[in-house]
């Protein structure tokens, strides 16, 4: 599979307000694709359309196709719950479960899927925390509350939680926007590492971050896809004038 996602004529609405207009993108697997654009351009909506999270908001609507591994996830017979299981999502503000321990947070998804075997759970929790570069910091007390960590650690906990169910894709919606520079740097290292095994789609309002971290970049403006290509091309040789203006900081 060369393209993990093939998005065809995707439109999205909040009630009567249209937020995405005819988006067509093919997202490469095992690479980092960044979605950039000024506030309100629809980048969060786009990423939430990938795991059918957009429609859980009342009055939200989608039309078009999103082919995931070749199958349209918006087809009639597709179960959104199972779709979401195959993708991990990390949100703008870290949202660990405060009433659960670090261990239980990471294991949450596994337990949902019926995994009860203590050995297996321990293995996966450790593996996921290591992948999220959090293991060394928390391994001595996995029973602490999920909320007792610092912001950066909480976000990595959320990543571990998402990784534990072995998704094929990691969707990240401005994952560093609530973090300090050091935590952000750690996160960016993590994202590059994840790209070896996962397809990563990251929304960011920070252009430099997109340039640092991604292999491909999509630029959205007012719900439309303005430009899409390899990060190098988009940043060094933007084909669209709007792209160039955004990248040089003339607006947004």
């Amino acid at each position: 599979m060369f393209y993990k996602f093939e998005i065809e004529n995707l439109n999205a609405w909040f009630g009567s307000k249209q937020v995405l207009k005819n988006i067509n993108i093919k997202i490469r697997e095992k690479a980092v694709t960044a979605i950039i654009g000024p506030s309100g351009c629809g980048k969060t909506t786009l990423i939430r359309c990938l795991n059918r999270m957009h429609e859980i908001v009342p009055h939200a609507r989608v039309s078009g196709k999103v082919l995931f591994n070749g199958i349209d996830i918006y087809a009639e017979d597709v179960d959104p719950v199972q779709t979401r299981r195959k993708m991990g999502m990390v949100f703008q503000k870290p949202n660990p479960f405060p009433m659960m321990s670090i261990y239980d947070n990471v294991a949450a998804g596994l337990k949902l899927n019926g995994v009860r075997d203590k050995k297996r759970l321990n293995e996966v929790v450790e593996r996921s925390l290591k992948m999220a570069i959090l293991w060394d910091e928390v391994k001595d007390d996995l029973n602490k509350s999920g909320a007792s960590l610092s912001g950066g650690q909480q976000q990595r906990l959320c990543i571990a939680r998402a990784l534990a169910v072995e998704p094929e894709v990691m969707l990240m919606d401005e994952p560093a926007s609530a973090l300090d520079p050091i935590a952000t740097a750690k996160l960016e290292v993590l994202i590059r590492m994840l790209a070896k095994d996962y397809t990563v789609v990251i929304v960011t309002h920070n252009m430099q971050q997109a340039a640092r971290v991604s292999d491909f970049t999509a630029f959205l403006y007012l719900g439309e896809l303005i430009e899409y290509g390899s990060t190098k091309d988009v940043f060094e040789n933007p084909k669209n004038e709007l792209t160039e203006k955004y990248i040089t900081g003339q607006f947004g």
Partner: protein, 349 residues
């Protein structure tokens, strides 16, 4: 004079400075400060009086509660002196002959009927809370919760009226007699079935606490930040699995709701006394047997208490009920307040 200028810049000590420099009137800033401070003083006089008056009125709540303790204690003096601690563990209530009074069966009756009310009412209330906050759209929630709140507006005595003429015949014929026929060998379901009694009053109480417990639970669920739900949904959780997480997050608020419901059940008077059978006995023979609660005995016998010790005994029952209700309500409020602070605190992170 130079010193006063530098100090005037510090607004916290402005009034101090102004006072000290009142003997030096020729500076414009000083005159202005003097004028402002005079106006402030006039403001504060009227305001102070207002604040004091309203505070005094608001503090009457302490006087009311304090007076209650005082009057209830004074009013049960004879009984307290006569029976002491034995009142709380006494099992005899004989106003006619021996004039001995003991409240243990009443306390048990109150607690057991309230426990039944919770056993039946809490799951239903949680179901309603989830249905309205997690499983349905907002507008449906509004309309329906309005209906559930109407249940709370119906007076206790009308519950009793309905209890006597509608619920009791219905339960007797359609629920109790069949239960008795099938499970009659179990003590709980044995004995004579007349329709009222322990289980019936538990059922009526359950209906009466549902509005409170479901509303407070629903508030607790709504207060859970949406990011928690999204985290579960993105992991591939079903609506029910997400709801379980919400309940777990809100569990302090739910506990508060349950205790609030307990507080209401413990104090319910008219509906209970109209369906429970008003039979003084340490333990009922079965769920279908009649019994008594603290509130019911007061309502039932107060107007017939012809001599002082009798009245005092009933007032002492009221005193016990007062303290039980006080403890439960304080506990409930503390927990509900704490849960609100917890949710806000966690959400801040």
């Amino acid at each position: 004079m130079g010193n006063n200028y530098t100090r005037v810049k510090d607004t916290r000590h402005q009034r101090e400075t102004v006072m000290k420099s009142q003997q030096k009137p020729s500076i414009f800033i000083h005159i202005l400060s003097v004028r402002i401070s005079k106006i402030l003083k006039n403001f504060s006089k009227g305001d102070n009086v207002f604040k004091l008056l309203t505070a005094a009125v608001a503090s009457s709540i302490f006087i009311i509660i304090g007076l209650m303790v005082y009057e209830l204690t004074k009013g049960s003096q004879l009984s307290i002196q006569r029976f002491g601690i034995d009142f709380l563990v006494g099992t005899k209530w004989d106003p006619a002959i021996s004039q001995i009074f003991g409240a243990l069966p009443l306390i048990l009756g109150t607690l057991v009927t309230s426990a039944i009310a919770l056993l039946i009412g809490v799951p239903i209330s949680l179901g309603i809370g989830l249905a309205l906050s997690e499983f349905s759209p907002k507008r449906f929630g509004f309309a329906v919760s309005f209906l559930v709140e109407l249940l709370a507006a119906i007076p206790s005595v009308i519950y009793g009226l309905w209890g006597i003429f509608t619920l009791i015949p219905f339960l007797r014929n359609n629920v109790y007699l069949p239960l008795h026929a099938i499970f009659g060998f179990i003590p709980l379901f044995s004995g004579t079935v007349y329709g009222g009694g322990v289980l019936t009053s538990g059922i009526v109480l359950a209906i009466m606490i549902i509005p409170t417990v479901s509303a407070v639970s629903r508030d607790a669920f709504s207060a859970v930040p949406n990011t928690q739900r999204e985290a579960m949904i993105s992991l591939g959780a079903t609506k029910w699995e997400t709801a379980k997480t919400v309940m777990s997050y809100a569990r302090t608020g739910v506990i508060g709701a349950i205790i609030l419901g307990l507080g209401r059940a413990v104090g319910e008077t008219m509906a209970v006394t109209m369906v429970i059978g008003n039979k003084f006995q340490l333990l009922p023979a079965s769920l279908f047997d009649a019994w008594y609660t603290m509130a019911a005995i007061i309502a039932n016998e107060f107007t017939e208490a012809t001599y002082d010790l009798y009245v005092n005994a009933l007032i002492e029952v009221g005193l016990v009920l007062f303290f039980i209700a006080l403890i439960i309500n304080i506990l409930a409020r503390l927990i509900v307040w704490r849960s609100l602070r917890l949710v806000r605190g966690i959400a801040r992170e």
